[in-house]
Every structure is written in structure tokens, then in C-alpha cells.
Assembly symmetry: D2
Homo-oligomer: 347 residues x 4
């Protein structure tokens, strides 16, 4: 199969290329870059020297249609909603890694993304690409909205509970997330300038982050009710990794931690990329580094009748490019884990 | 005045020495080390070369009494409860930086510290050394229990609310804290080995951390009721700094964020070392680096009627040695901020 | 083919396992650990959870011989020289990642490693495992001494010159190397304690590092004369990566940088894992991260008639486990690059 | 005394302010910023909140002359040469932290800084501000050119040898320097973007760095002959600190390391801020962190008759702002160490 990447020089585009290079079943036949069109990839990213040397193209839906069977769009939010419709109209399957097709309610875009959606009719077509509960829909999808990094970490941490929605007192849901700096992308800024980001830690967009409605939408679908949460992201002085600490009370005081762990274990039993950690072991971002795994721990705070779920993943892999490859595998009929079965990089 | 430090070669002892060296009003006349007695300090810590060169002594309450007016004990938990009574019996004022005299209820020690308290009668004498609400008691104290790093960040973030205890729905209190690695001390371990701690993030002692009862005790005193909280600490891949994100619901839905900010601003108006950040600015650990400041922001999550308080401090300064110097200043009659008026180190 | 790893829980053993897991041509049938025998690997290293779960065995040459066709020894220096002879006597091919079989002159061990060599007769059998010039010998070897991380970076930087030994004024050779902390291994120590290693930089074993004679021996073989160099290693506050800056004067002032670059380019033309960087691009450790590449730049300081060669590699891959897999491929008849054709991890 | 800072919001301006705030003998009466004129400092740098709140002014030589007795110029190279003459013409003493007045030969500027010098007549007036050998000239200077960070580390490492110029084979001089990222300033760039700078190491401007002629000029003055060196800087993944490894051969093979150490010890005996480390202790950047110290070690590579000098300092303190304060103390008649006697920050 022939695949392409729109916006290959950013961090998610680059990570897609790294994973697809080792996939074994696809050929990368088309890559574009707005800023560097005409150059070869290794002129921009010398780590590709003597490995691959594609010429970076300007975006063209026609060329994409001619050269590929599936396109990954790794464009920024706002740009994807302009280009993806052209690709879809040209008949190409698309996996979009931006947020532009994740929210089914177009009226949420101006609130959270500060712009109207320019192609709302594609929101219906888009399938939310979390294979762990949307697998069958993804297989038949033409447009997959690849989940955000934070939402993936939170949703995988809450899926089994959301499906038993009445078990949970949703009004108590608080999510405290921490992300490595690569989540902010490749464009330099004061906040991510090494001397200001290293040896520093801070919260940002407190209870205002644009990933909030995406989490609420998907949890709500599963739980069959409106769900609202307090979500606070923080910036870690490291490159890769997200850890979400999820706090929630249950409606049923009689359920034991063991029963909850069983619910999770059963739900994720056949899931290759979600690991419920045994007993005393707690998630560390380094244990999923550069891999597609999401590790989960469940803890019960008996003194306060509160469940604490800790979830880690690599924001560029299971939080972006790895999940996109997993979705591609489903859409194109590959084995779901093809190209993703690697040992996490530690140390 | 003459002061001494018991256990000077650990991180808090070392930081005390750094601060006291620039204090201007005290002479350091006695320092001890269990492991390195007989050597000079610069043999162990070459950054003191040609600056100070005290001989490290073995602990002796008699020698301490003879040579000093006040002793800082920077011993580990468990050891301090053995040595401090000897110092007190010799008539010396003590500021203890361990946890050994912070909990007034001796029965909590076996639960949280896994050992009985060997000198419970000193628990009554000890004053909890948070100057921002215990200032007068500290001035007259002979034994000050210097607060823990996490508790200081949480208590300063909640003090004004705790004093209006009925405003708060305390059952909803969740504290998600993140600390730099120096908080774990100077002894090497697998978890703090550079290749395992760098570029990694994890939670630890989830809802089981020994600082929990200390926070509950002090909040409870102020609020006039029993308080229980969910407390989850995390380890940051950086050296210095704590950030606590505090989530709590209020009982009064009609109070505005502005009113809450006013309550805080009034409470901390004359406090030198607590800064309420204006409007959009959020705390960053780097803005208090190597200084005695604690920076606070208050945010209101209107969608979920939840207050979010973010608090940062340097765990070795306001979270340990700086606060100890502040307490010493109160006990010995110095200006409270003497030796602590420095610009945070950034970058 | 069936392979085994002696000492799998250290950093090089662990990296071997990561690479061999994705190799495609070998089965890992035997792994040992001195400290953790009897446990499963994922009990020690949770990043292997649900990926591989071998039981860690105690070392037994008989079991190794029965279960494997080739053994990687990732034991520390000094231990390998005791175990490898047992494996060789049992008829198994061995790739030894320690320094124990690298020096052909047994009398150098007491000088640089502070111990006599206990099995000097195997020094003759051992082939120095740098495929870029020893390829044919490695193919037929039964015992390969896998090069050190520093030596690999230096030798690849000097190979083409060493083969034209008269071109170089060897008396002027200075090598200034910098390594990430993983090179020091997995055992915690004060120097590698996160708060002391992060945000810090230092030299160590100045002109006394045990990798010095290994570099001199191999350069000497190639140049056909005794070579002595000044070698100073430094410790970087990062996990992976070595950069060596090599300074040397030439005997021929008329040779141009272009000619030297041509010599290098020709020599490495068919080498998969050595990249001569084009013109203005300089090596960065991140461009070879988690990969088997070694990147080289050549610069001419015309003001001082001095050649500057900069060499980078990942100390755990081309500097250890990756090179060992490359050697295994040669010894077992696989394609030399099998299992090593990955895109470096960046960011 | 009243002092001012031109360009206070950059890293050196900011560090000057931090040091001068604790100096005790000066009042900061004038600070300027090109980008943020009209705002207060704490709007740009919140770590100054409630500490100092000066209004940032646009540059005016008249206002500077009226309000201050001495000005620190922390402008970028190229801008300083335009503003400093205006200040000097207005009769104010100036310490310039840029490179614009360091080279006495104006013809070197186009070669190394790619621009002509616009006010060469001030080059004669300027005194090179390295107190360790220019102390008396600095006391009487009206314009001090504050040395660069790299040159300070190299010159302090070579001063005693340069004064015995014939002892050294200057043709063999190689300097391999490594600097933390704050040396590159506050403006974000791709190279200093956290995900590209963290966990990465690289050389830059190999044998082309603009600090080279400054080192050669000052060494040449002391040695009484033309000196040329190979200088290669590298970028460390940390914020503060420079370590220079200096390689040089001696002309006299009979001199012992002990004699050389004695030469250094005698030369620096009364120098407060240069420390010759005893025997086995090697310099670490962390041992001088946030302080004005420069630590030196001397090692002899007997196998190659080569001297290795290792020098560390904090690039923002002894490498910039601290040295400027030291110079100010000399120029204004303060005790040379006033405001600089602090314990290095470790950890």
C-alpha cells in the first residue's frame, strides 16, 4: 500500500515517518511541507541522512490521490480542516492527526479553538480513532480523527468505567495531566526555550485546555450522559511522555479495588497496547518511551473513598503517530500491531 | 548569635549553611556529620573550598550547648527524635527539619512513619513552624518543627480558606503535587539514578505519603474540624521545585473568584514570602528558584464549580532551609526576612 | 538461530534484548542475571510487561551450550574473563561486550584495569569487533571482543587516516570525548545521583581512562606503528550519546580538506552505519539516538594547520549493543544491517 | 552610588540585576529595554514580583548621565558600539558586557563579527576587564570591556603560563570548551528549543568562534608574542556553566606538575575567585553554580608530555555579570568581592 504524509517536518509527521519506515507493509510515496517544499527531507532533518531522502512537495490533492491510498494529515489545527476535505473529495482515505475532526458538534470549535469550523459536514463522516472501543468503525472509516495525546491518556484510563457509567459520580472527576515538551510542537517559543523550560515546571491553560471537550464528548458517548470534568495540563521539563492522574469518586461504596481492577483487566485483556500494571508497580513515562503502550494503575484511597487512576503514554506515539499507524492498520487490513511491536526505549 | 547544624552534609543541612553564610547576623560555630566526622566540610563538598572549612564533628549535646545558642537538626526522620531531646535537655533552642516533631498525635507515627515515637513528650512543646500563621508562637518557641516541603506548599495554598472553614466542601479536597528530585535527599538510589530519573515522570506513594497527616492536622486546626484529603505526589525530572495543584469545591456557589482572590490578598498582604500572582500569570517553579518565595494562583473552573489553587516553592528553601532560617529569625529576634531577601535564580 | 545474553539486566544487556526482539532472525532462548536469578525479566524491568517474560537464570555454561548457538556476554569487566572461557570451552560462539578480551597484550590489564588477566590464552583467539575494518575476521570468529563506546567513536573517526599512517603527525593526537550517563551503567552512585548529575558537567579519569590503550592498540595496528594519544572523557547531563572531538596535525601541509573528505567518503562509501555529514552540517548526538549510526564531520583549522574530526554515536547502540548485533549478523550469516535499520529517535 | 543597566531584560542584564540587588552599596536608578520600554520589569520577568518594580526606559544617554554614576551595557554585539560612545561622551563610566570593545585591533571585527567597528577610537580607551591581571588599569578605567564567558575560562586557565611564555609550546594549544545554553541568550531558536536541545550535544562554530581572537589577543599581550589557538565550543544540555579543557605541550620537559601547580597557586594566592583544586578533585560546573568562582585543575599526561588544564565557571556570573560587578567594585572603590561572596548553589 502507498501512503503519504501532509506536513511531514513537524514532530508528529516526523514520528509517523519513523514508524512507517519500519512498518514493512507500506511505501511512503508522498510527503509535503509548506515551509520546505522543494528540499529533500534530510536537508531539514539530518537524522534521515542516507536513510530516506524524499523530496518535500507542496500540497496537492490531485497528486496525493494519484500517488497514495491513504493520507496522514499532520497539519496544525485550523489548516487541516481546509485540506482534508480536498483529499476526501479526491477519494482518498485520511487519518487526520489534528483536532479538526474530533468534535462532532461544530459549535464547540469557536468556543475552544477560537475559530469557526469551515467544513462541518465532514464532522459526521469522521470516526474518532481510538481503536480500543471504536475498532469496528475505524475499519470501515474513510476519515479518522486521530485522538489528542491528553484525551488518549484520559480515555484509556476511564473507558471501562465509562461503560458502567452509573458506577461513577461523574461530578467529582478531576484530571491532572503532565506532558513532555514535544507535545507543544516544533516551533520555538519563549516558554520552550531551553533555559526557561529545563529545570522548570508549570501548569498552563488551567481548566481551559482545548482537549477538554474532546474528553467530555467521548466519555459522554460511552456513559450515555453529559459529562463535564476539570482538566489541568502541566508542562514537564522532558521531551516525551504524558502522565495523567485521574481522581474520581464512585457511587457504589461497596465495590472493591479488586473488582475494579478485574473490570479493567477483562476489558483490556485482548488489547495489545494497554497494560494494567500489577500490584505495587506504578506507571512511569519511561516504561512506554518511544512505544505505542499505555500503562495504567488503579489505586483506591480508602480514607476518602476516591479512585485514583494513573495513565502514561508517549505523546508522540500512542498519543499521536503510533495510534495513527494503529488506525491505518485497521483501515488497510494489516494486523493491528504491525510496525508497533517494539520494546520501549529505557534508559 | 552562634548557631549549629546537626547533619550538615545532607541537602537540607547544606542549604542551611548556604543561607546562613550570607545571613549577616549569625556565626556557624558547630556542624556535625555522622558519616564524615573528623573531615573538613570542603573535603566532602568541594563547592565550599576557600569559603568555609569547618571540621565536621560527631554529635554531642554538651558540645552543642557550649558552642551554640540554637541548633538546626537536619537529621533524617527517626534519628532526630533521638537527638533533639538531648539538645532540649541541655537547654538549647532547636529547629528540627525532620518530620519527627510535626505531628502532635504520637499515635500517627507508627501508621505513617512505621515506627513508634521515642520521645512523645516533646510533641507538646514543639511549635509547627509555619510563620504565616504561627508567627507569635514561633517567637517564643524552644522547639520548632519545621514544616515539610509538600505541606508548606499545600498549607500556604489553603490557609486563607481554612480560616473560613465553612466556605469549603472539604470532602472534595484533592492535592496533586510534583516535586524535584532533591526532595528525596542525597543518598543515591535506583529511582534517582540519572539515567532512570531524567526524561522520566512518575507518581509515588499514591494516597499514602507520610506528609498527608501533617497537612490534615494543620488544616484541621485552622478550620476547626477534622479534614481528610487525597494527596498524590509525583517525581519531576529536575532538581529543585515543588508545584502543588489543589482542587476543591466551595459550599457557597455565589462567591466570586474576585472575592476569593481578595481574601487571599488581604491575608497575605504583609507576608514577605507569599506572592499572589496577578491575573493571567501562572506559577512556575523557576520563578522561586533558590529563594524563599511561595507563589500562588487562584483559578475558578466555572463549568464545574471548582476552585483550583496552584502553589510553587523551592523545596530546599521555603520547603526546608529557608523556612528554618525564617523561623530562626523569629526565635532570635532578627528581622524576619534577614538573609532571605534574594532575587530568585532565573534562568 | 538461538542466542542468549549473560547479564541481561544491566544497560547493555537490556539494550541487546530490545534490539534482538525486533531482529527477526533470532530467538532469545537463554538470559541470565546474577542478582535476580529466578525472577522473570518484567519483575525487574516493567517496560517488558506483556512483551517478553523470560525467567532469569543463573549462569551455567552447560545450559548455555545446550540452549543457544551464540552468547552475548554483558558482564562487567573482570567477570567476563572468568565466564567467557567456560562458554568457549563448551563450544559456543561468544560476543563479549566487556573490555576483557579487547587488549591483545595481557600485560596492559594490570596497568589500566588494576587486575591481572585470568585467561590470557583467549586474547589471541579474540577478534576486535569493529566491522568497518575487521569484517572478514569477524565472520569467522568464535570470540568477538566488542569495542568500547569511546573507542568506537574515536576509531571510526580516525580509521581512514590510520590506514594512511604517514599522513598524520600522531604525536599531536588529542581526543576530547563526552558521554551520556548511561555509559556508566545501571548501578547508582553519588556522581550519577540525579541532583548531582543533572545541570552539571565534569571531566573524569583525565588522561587515565581505561579505554585509552584499546584505542592506541587498534590505531597502531592500522598505522603500523606505535601510537599514543591524550584522551580525556567527560560526563554529560544526558542519558545517551557520545561525541568525540579529535584534534590532530598532518605531516603534509599541502593536502586539502576536500581531499581528506574524499578519503573518508571513499572508505565509508559502502558502510551502512557511518555517515560523513555534508558541508556545514555538524554531528549532534540526537541525530543518531537509539540507532546504530556513527556520524562524522571533518573540519580544517587553517589558521593552525590542524584537522578536527567530530564523531557521534549512541553509546548503548553503535557503542555497545548495536555493534554487537552487527557482529552477530556477520558471525551467523545474516545481512549485516538486519535488525538495525531504524530511523534515529528525534526528538 | 547610582548605577544603571542598558538592556536589562536579557540574561546578562537580568543576572546583573540579581547580583546588584544584593550588593549593598549601589542603587539601581536606571534600567532600559528596547522591546519592553514603558512596562515594569515584573511584567516581563515575574520572578521580580514584589521585589523590584522599575519602569523599563527607552535608552537615553542624557537620562543615563543624569541618573547614574556608572552604566552596565548588556546590549547585543553591534548595538553596544553604537550606544556606548554616547554614554562616554556624556561622561558616564561604562562597563560593556558585549564584545564590542574587547578587540583593540579594529580590523578584526569584520573578520570575526562580520561588521565594521563604528567607533574604533573607543577601542584605545577600553580596558579589558579581567581583574586577575588588569586590576590596576580597571580601577582607573572609564570604559571596561567585560571579557567573554569562554575567554574568561580560558584566560584564567592559562594566565600564569602566559606570563612565562617561553615555557609553553604555544603551537600545540587546543581548547575544547563546553557551555550551557544560557550563553546563547534569551531569544528562542530552533537549536535551543527544549525538545532539540535537551538530551542532545553538539559542537558549533568549529575553529570559527568569535571569542577566538579575544583569547589570542590577551594571551599574546601576556606572553609577549603572537599566539594562535584551535578553539572548539560545544553546547551542553544544561542552563548554566562552562567547562574548558585546555591542552598544551611545554618546552621544558624537566618541569614537574608540582612546580606548575606551585606557579598557579602562587599567582592566584590572593585571588578570591580563582580556586586551584587540591589533588584528586576535578572541576565540576555545579561547584561554581550561580557564583563568581572559577575552579581550576592541572593534570599532567606523562605518556604524551602534555599539560591538561580544566577550568569551570558560571557563564552568567564569572563569565558575565559577576565579573562586571567585580569590575564595578574596582572602578567605584568598593571592596572587590562585595556582593559576590556567596556559596555556590548545589544541588
Amino acid at each position: 500500500m502507498r501512503v503519504g504524509i501532509i506536513g511531514v517536518t513537524g514532530y508528529t509527521g516526523n514520528e509517523l515517518l519513523r514508524l512507517l519506515f519500519s512498518h514493512g507493509g507500506v511505501e511512503i510515496t508522498y510527503v509535503t511541507s509548506y515551509s520546505y517544499a522543494g528540499k529533500t527531507l534530510d536537508e531539514i532533518h539530518p537524522h534521515y541522512l542516507e536513510i530516506i531522502k524524499p523530496v518535500l512537495r507542496s500540497f496537492s490533492a490531485e497528486e496525493a490521490a494519484e500517488k497514495t491510498d491513504l493520507i496522514f494529515s499532520a497539519l496544525p489545527h485550523g489548516e487541516s480542516m481546509e485540506k482534508v476535505p480536498l483529499l476526501r473529495d479526491a477519494g482518498i482515505k485520511v487519518i487526520d492527526l489534528s483536532a479538526d475532526f474530533r468534535l462532532t458538534d461544530a459549535s464547540l470549535y469557536p468556543i475552544w479553538y477560537k475559530r469557526d469550523h469551515c467544513s462541518p459536514r465532514y464532522l459526521e463522516e469522521a470516526v474518532y480513532g481510538l481503536p480500543e472501543y471504536n475498532r469496528e468503525k475505524i475499519k470501515n472509516a474513510s476519515l479518522v480523527a486521530n485522538p489528542g495525546c491528553y484525551p488518549t491518556s484520559v480515555l484509556l484510563g476511564l473507558l471501562p468505567l465509562a461503560l458502567r457509567g452509573k458506577l461513577v459520580n461523574w461530578d467529582t472527576l478531576v484530571v491532572d495531566s503532565k506532558s513532555g515538551a514535544s507535545g507543544a510542537g516544533r516551533v520555538p517559543s519563549q516558554n520552550l526555550h531551553f533555559p526557561e523550560c529545563s529545570e522548570n515546571f508549570r501548569a498552563y491553560r488551567v481548566a481551559e485546555h482545548q482537549h477538554t471537550p474532546e474528553i467530555e464528548q467521548e466519555l459522554g458517548k460511552l456513559a450515555g450522559r453529559k459529562i463535564s470534568l476539570t482538566f489541568v495540563p502541566h508542562l514537564l521539563p522532558m521531551i516525551r511522555g504524558i502522565l495523567s492522574t485521574i481522581y474520581v469518586s464512585l457511587n457504589n461504596d461497596n465495590i472493591s479495588l479488586e473488582e475494579i481492577v478485574n473490570i479493567y483487566s477483562r476489558f483490556y485483556r485482548d488489547e495489545k497496547f494497554v497494560r494494567i500494571l500489577p500490584g505495587p508497580i506504578l506507571p512511569e513515562t519511561r516504561n512506554v518511551y518511544a512505544s505505542n503502550y499505555c500503562d495504567l494503575s488503579l489505586k483506591w484511597d480508602a480514607r476518602n473513598n476516591r479512585l485514583i487512576i494513573i495513565s502514561v503514554l508517549d505523546n508522540l506515539v500512542k498519543g499521536a503517530a503510533g495510534q495513527a499507524v494503529q488506525n491505518m492498520n485497521l483501515m488497510l487490513g494489516f494486523k493491528e500491531e504491525q510496525g508497533l511491536e517494539t520494546v520501549p526505549l529505557r534508559p
